[in-house]
């Protein structure tokens, strides 16, 4: 079974600064998908960024980018130019490409952006 670990329960960053959230995972599969979801106080789960394991190039979406290290099974999220609206719970998630087609979530990191 896959596991996803987020070792930072809470983080804080000043507005306009850069912050990196950590995520590691464990799997025996070679092809899979990794995601970062954001859940603001409104509680809707919003996709931030996704990465396909067979792609070596790190995914980027505007101010959000990942550092995907497949051999190390590491998938960190970097948020540049942090904004107050980035305050939320961030979940790292794994999904198999061919097996179980459901997300396995990490425990989450609560990010607070300070003005």
């Amino acid at each position: 079974a896959q596991t996803v670990t987020q070792s930072q329960p809470e983080m804080s960053v000043q507005e306009a600064e850069t912050v990196t959230l950590s995520c590691t995972y464990d799997t025996s599969e070679s092809n899979y998908y990794l995601f970062w979801y954001k859940q603001p106080p409104s509680r809707q789960m919003i996709l931030v960024i996704r990465q396909e394991a067979y792609k070596q190039q790190n995914a980027t979406e505007n101010r959000f980018s990942v550092n995907f290290q497949k051999a190390a099974k590491s998938f960190s999220l970097k948020i540049s130019d942090s904004q107050l609206g980035d305050t939320a719970m961030y979940f790292c998630a794994f999904m198999s490409h061919t097996g179980r087609r459901a997300l396995t979530f990490g425990s989450g990191t609560r990010l607070q952006v300070q003005p």
Partner: protein
Amino acid sequence: DTEVTQTPKHLVMGMTNKKSLKCEQHMGHRAMYWYKQKAKKPPELMFVYSYEKLSINESVPSRFSPECPNSSLLNLHLHALQPEDSALYLCASTRTGHDSGNTIYFGEGSWLTVV
């Protein structure tokens, strides 16, 4: 349109009541999910439907009964719930197929309180 609609947004029910949560998507997705989320915890998978058939049941108690009447609708029937079942219930959907992209889209959730 990447919208998953859940109703009701809030539900309060007694332990002897029967109620239902509803989820609808019109994105042509053929996989739909129910997740349960307690406060400050990640979502936990309950059920997965693929092509209107139940494909995953995470050993959920029978007081939760899922139903997928057609490819756009997913229901969760609730009966004889316990106070500890109070949580946010998230519906999600995705396309199927190994080249489908596999992004899972979530609804805003239904807050359930059992009294």
